[in-house]
């Protein structure tokens, strides 16, 4: 059933609507577990749109297998998605930096608060992100180290390629995931694919994981595809490659390839002189799980991340 979680009137003859689709078993017992899938916080991240579609499609085709409640929020930032804008149009702050929101704040903070209130009480939340328009990411779950013990068991069920346990950062305390985790709703942040695109194989991979975790929670009794065991990494294992020149980046390796330390990752070219400005090399031996997608780079632009010492591709 499609529900409007909250709405705000816009100046001229339109309302901002935050909608979700609640899928419930045909017969409710009152003891159902609830899982929430959210995406579309950043308007340029679209991979989650296909995930939402596919989750709902599979449930709809096998309603008799649904034994719990699944809430699907395709668009926390519908104005951003509709205008190809990462943030909320006409609002300075990244929507994923205003949670848990506030009833007293501006309308965006009010919307954030209403979303959090609605998700509260879920047994699990999956927050699907799609990197940005500059970088492609292999399907991964990112977990802050202070929630790792609780979340890693869930993350291992999700059919992602690896789980990155990263250091806690104060600035991340205003994300949706942090706010929900602090409220007792285990929340997994998925990063996969690239902005403004849909990568179907990644989406299918994640959807298989979502049904696997639903099965473990007793929400789904239908058939579940086999899932992979992710590699769980910590910050120390991740090597960053940042541009040492400005120009056009052309990769020499595909994402999810194994590289030796000093191996060729790509080149930064100068289209005016016809020269290579800089040869980009791997900082360590390992697997490339992040790779630059958008070619224009400045000094400092992130080119790649390498999971050091690991061959999982």
């Amino acid at each position: 059933m499609i529900e409007t979680v909250t709405s705000v009137k816009l100046p001229v003859d339109e309302s901002l609507l935050i909608q979700k689709n609640r899928m419930e078993p045909l017969e409710l017992t009152g003891r159902e577990k609830r899982m929430t899938i959210v995406t579309g916080t950043h308007g340029d991240e679209l991979e989650g749109q296909f995930v939402c579609y596919e989750v709902l499609r599979r449930i709809r085709e096998n309603m008799d297998c649904l034994k719990g409640i699944v809430d699907v929020f395709p668009a926390l930032n519908p104005l951003g998605i509709d205008s190809i804008t990462r943030g909320i149009p006409q609002f300075d702050l990244d929507m994923n930096r205003i949670f848990p929101g506030s009833q007293e704040g501006v309308f965006t903070e009010y919307v954030a608060a209403e979303v959090v209130n609605d998700i509260a009480g879920s047994d699990l939340c999956v927050d699907v992100h799609a990197s940005n328009i500059y970088l492609r990411e292999m399907p991964q779950i990112r977990i802050s180290e202070n929630t790792a013990t609780k979340l890693i068991p869930y993350a291992k069920l999700m059919n992602v390629d690896f789980v990155w346990v990263h250091a806690a950062a104060t600035v991340l305390e205003s994300t949706l995931a942090h706010s929900l985790n602090m409220m007792g709703v285990p929340t997994l942040v998925v990063e996969m694919g690239v902005g403004m695109r849909i990568t179907k194989e990644y989406c299918y991979q994640l959807v298989d994981g979502i049904f696997n975790v639903m099965s473990e929670l007793g929400i789904w009794t239908g058939e579940v595809n086999p899932v992979r065991e992710p590699y769980v990494s910590v910050d120390e294992e991740v090597g960053f490659v940042n541009a040492d020149a400005s120009g056009i980046f052309v990769p020499a390796v595909p994402i999810w390839s194994y590289v030796e330390e000093g191996g060729h990752i790509g080149d930064i070219l100068n289209p005016l002189t016809g020269l290579i400005e800089h040869r980009m090399e791997a900082p360590c031996t390992g697997t490339v799980f992040t790779l630059r997608e958008y070619p224009i780079v400045y000094h400092g632009s992130l080119i790649a991340r390498v999971l050091g010492g690991v061959k999982i591709c």
Binding site: V8, K9, L10, P11, V12, D13, L16, R86, G87, F91, D92, L93, R97, I98, E104, G105, V106, F107, Y110, N132, Y134, T170, V171, L172, E173, S174, F240, N242, A245, S246, G247, I248, N270, P271, I296, V297, Y298, H299, G300, S301, L302
Partner: protein, 311 residues
């Protein structure tokens, strides 16, 4: 005065980004003043330009105190200003949310690191800033409550208000916050405008900074004593929201006194022109911040009122 490039960055298709610093006097790092960090902060750039003009004259008359150095960085992100963008044009990141920066990180982290390397270790740090909510303010000095803030020092600017903001997680990457963590007394000076130039509040800001530097023994300059500021905690301001959306008519602006029950603004139906909502003052006091745009969204903040304060 010594003008130098404190940070530069090559671009693939544009002229080099050059961030300029103007140094006055020599010796102890007394005060660093930073103007526009966002591309629409034209007022902040203008205020800095007027300040540099004034400091040049003061230096020519020997009015910079011996052994004291002042650094003024009028603009950090003119790359965005030149093409009409507020944030870094390539990836839309906000340089003022990248401090203290990271010299091996992403582009805007490197720019922030380059600026912070020059701007840190001064006794006093002053930024001409803009707020994330568009609207008008009463000119004021703003500080983060980090435990290092000093409202009594902020009072020496002689502006009518000093606002102390309890930092939220997102504030921890601003210049003001990080200056304080690096033991610089940090102040953000807000004038009335951002995208447009307001001469009156610009002059007020220049005078306030010169007054402060005089009182701190950095320059010699005779000026009016200014105000004894009211110190306000931001959380104690009363926010007044709009219950409707439409065309916004404002009746009371920043600095004006209101009484409980006064009509502060009204919202008109955008098609038929009828008044669909009157925004009523819920308390008496002085309007500190006010919505300015001609359109308003439901639940937007119409104004913030300093309660029980009178003109």
């Amino acid at each position: 005065m010594l003008k130098e490039t404190i940070y530069s960055l090559k671009a693939p298709y544009r002229d080099e980004l050059r961030i300029s610093g103007y140094r006055f006097g020599q010796g102890e790092k007394a005060a660093c003043i930073i103007g526009s960090i966002r591309g629409n902060e034209v007022q902040q750039l203008y205020v800095c330009s007027q300040l540099i003009k004034a400091l040049k004259e003061l230096e020519a008359h020997g009015s910079i105190v011996s052994g004291k150095e002042i650094l003024v960085i009028p603009s950090v992100n003119h790359y965005s200003m030149n093409i009409g963008k507020r944030f870094w044009a390539v990836d839309n990141t906000d340089i003022n949310r990248m401090f203290p920066g990271y010299d091996k990180g992403e582009t805007t982290q490197r720019i922030a690191a380059g600026v912070f390397e020059e701007a840190k270790e001064y006794s006093y740090g002053i930024q001409f800033a803009s707020f994330y909510m568009p609207g008008d303010f009463v000119p004021h000095v703003r500080m983060m409550e980090t435990g290092y803030q000093s409202a009594s020092l902020a009072n020496l600017f002689g502006l009518p208000y000093v606002v102390i903001r309890k930092p939220r997680p997102i504030d921890t990457t601003t210049l003001n916050y990080n200056w304080q963590l690096w033991e610089t007394n940090a102040f953000s000076v807000y004038t009335k405008e951002t995208d447009d130039i307001d001469e009156i509040s610009a002059k007020q800001a220049v005078s306030a900074v010169l007054r402060f530097l005089t009182r701190m023994g950095v320059i010699r300059y005779n000026s009016h004593s200014g105000y004894i500021a009211n110190v306000i905690l931001e959380d104690e301001l009363t926010s007044v929201h709009s219950d409707e959306a439409g065309i916004f008519h404002r009746f009371k602006g920043p600095g004006e006194e209101v009484h409980r029950g006064d009509v502060i603004a009204e919202v008109l139906d955008p098609y038929e022109g009828d008044v669909i909502s009157q925004i009523i003052a819920p308390t008496e006091g002085i309007i500190f911040f006010s919505h300015k745009k001609p359109l308003i969204t439901q639940r937007d903040i119409v104004c913030k009122i300093i309660r029980r304060l009178h003109e």
